[in-house]
């Protein structure tokens, strides 16, 4: 590998890391603002103009709090839990294509950290590993509420991963590739998957709500029943990591939704541009879609009350999975028909 390529990738990784963390930090601020708007309030407005320094204040508070480990906790697993949660949340962003290639200093820079040919499986893999952060943290706390939260989270995530995976299979069948860049490229212009697969989109969206542990599926940390769920015993920046990981995965799953169903960096009328203009406009389009979905996630959180756990399981296993399987079968039949198998 050449040095220039190495530097390029390194810069890309650092940029993605910074952008992801920055967006996650401001998602916490934005969440509180959105909640306030929906409830006819103002929201945080004390730290800086319009309260935009609020994330820094929150971070500072978390850093300077006492770092506490319960006496009967499994010490190393207790420390590992938030780390795993954060790591898996951050890794997902590495395969997402942010835009078309950028021409910089006479070199072509792909705005994607790694274009591996199994990109979507990579994301599914890291989603499924994300459970470990919660499970380990919840178990190592040696607290029954944490354990309840951890068990709820893991059973919920395993259940919804299935329906999610089947929806992804539908999309993969549509585009004929597991690479996210290919999936985006097949949705050129306004040819977005959501118009062909609205049902898969709805199911995928519900599942990603469940996978990110957000309302109405935030049973893993529902304060009214489980105090704080899996992070009951956590404090200081360890707790901050868990909260932060949730917002990082909120950002990445919004990005994944826009890549899979809303054409990623494609936008109508993109054929009129080329080169760097197209790349920059692509980034803008991609981030607009992502931010819209982050907003929708928040919108849902502040609208819909939490499910009961048996309702959650019923919805996952008895509704979403059968519907998505039927959807997949119909899609397969239509694709086979279009390819001329029945003639």
């Amino acid at each position: 590998m050449e040095i220039s390529e190495l530097i390029e990738k390194l810069a890309l990784i650092v940029a993605l890391f910074g952008v992801t963390l920055g967006i996650a930090a401001y998602a916490t601020y934005f969440e509180r603002k959105v909640a306030a708007w929906f409830q006819d309030r103002i929201g945080p407005d004390r730290a800086g103009p319009f309260g935009i320094l609020q994330p820094l204040a929150d971070g500072g508070k978390l850093f300077f709090k006492e770092d506490f480990i319960p006496a009967n906790a499994e010490k190393w697993l207790f420390i590992m839990g938030p780390g795993i949660a954060m790591f898996t949340a951050l890794m997902t962003g590495s395969v997402i294509p942010w835009s078309t290639d950028l021409e910089l200093f006479g070199q072509t820079v792909a705005l994607q950290v790694a274009d591996i040919n199994i990109g979507i499986l990579f994301i599914m893999g890291f989603l499924s590993i994300g459970v470990y952060g919660i499970m380990i943290g919840g178990w190592a706390s040696n607290n029954k509420f944490s354990l309840f939260g951890a068990i709820r989270a893991s059973s919920q995530m395993i259940s919804y991963e299935l329906a999610m995976g089947i929806c992804v299979i539908t999309i993969v069948m549509m585009s004929g590739s597991l690479s996210l860049r290919d999936i985006v490229n097949t949705q050129h212009g306004m040819n977005w998957n959501v118009f062909y697969q609205p049902l898969a989109f709805v199911i995928f969206f519900i599942c990603s709500l469940a996978e990110t542990n957000r309302a109405p599926f935030d049973l893993a940390e529902c304060e009214s029943e489980l105090i704080g769920g899996y992070h009951t015993e956590y404090g200081s920046m360890k707790m901050g990591f868990y909260l932060f990981a949730e917002y990082v995965s909120l950002f990445t799953s919004s990005a994944v939704i826009s890549v899979l169903f809303f054409g990623g960096f494609n936008f109508p009328g993109m054929d009129n541009f080329d080169g760097n203009t197209l790349a920059i406009l692509g980034v803008v389009a991609m981030f607009t879609k992502t931010f819209f979905f982050i907003f929708v996630f928040m919108w849902i959180r502040w609208t819909i009350p939490r499910f009961r756990f048996d309702q959650l399981m019923h919805l996952g296993w008895k509704s979403l999975i059968p519907i998505s399987i039927i959807n997949m079968l119909i899609t397969g039949l239509v694709i086979a028909f279009n390819e001329g198998w029945f003639k």
């Binding site: 499970m135 178990w139 059973s155 991963e161």
Partner: protein, 171 residues
């Protein structure tokens, strides 16, 4: 660093993690080491350019099956006092049985090494990539593939039957 050094280090780590599965005293730790082992096996797959297999290994084994293992273990009462005391004779018998199994495995692997060197997949071949793997699965290996899926369906039906008890009537 050459590919061979990386392979050696990875192999050593894999074996070490696998040993820790057996050595750890705490079941939950064993499961976590097993998860680590799966990750290291996946990285070995990646070295052999079998990306699809690596990711599927993580999704299925590390992501789903091991979570269920952990799930069950966390719900168990893992106090040291409640562990059943094993008799010395049982211990000796298990050591002998394990040793015999180990010898058989070594003997089997000894022939395998020579075979494997001839057929070792180099990093350049693309058999592990999705498209080629799909082609292979649905042409050359279509019968084993279908048989294994039938097996899975059978086990699924069995699991559903076991889980679905007849409704109890409360007097």
């Amino acid at each position: 660093m050459s590919l061979e050094t990386i392979t050696t280090i990875l192999g050593g780590l894999t074996i070490g993690a696998a040993l820790m599965v057996v050595i750890s005293r705490h079941p939950v730790r064993s499961v976590l080491y097993l998860v680590l082992t799966f990750f290291l096996i996946s990285s070995n797959y990646i070295l052999m350019n079998a990306q699809f297999l690596a990711v599927v290994n993580i999704i299925v084994y590390a992501g789903a099956i091991m979570v269920l293992f952990l799930f069950v273990l966390m719900l168990l009462n893992l106090d040291k006092d409640s562990e059943p005391k094993t008799h010395v004779l049982v211990k000796i018998a298990s050591v002998v049985a394990g040793g015999i199994l180990f010898t058989v495995l070594i003997a089997a692997l000894k022939d395998g090494i020579a075979l494997g060197e001839a057929a070792a997949p180099s990093a350049q071949n693309n058999e592990g990539l999705v498209q080629n793997l799909g082609q292979l699965l649905f042409s050359k290996y279509v019968l084993p593939f279908e048989v294994s899926s039938v097996l899975f369906i059978a086990s699924m039906v069995g699991a559903v039957l076991l889980a679905k008890r007849e409704k109890q009537v409360i007097d």
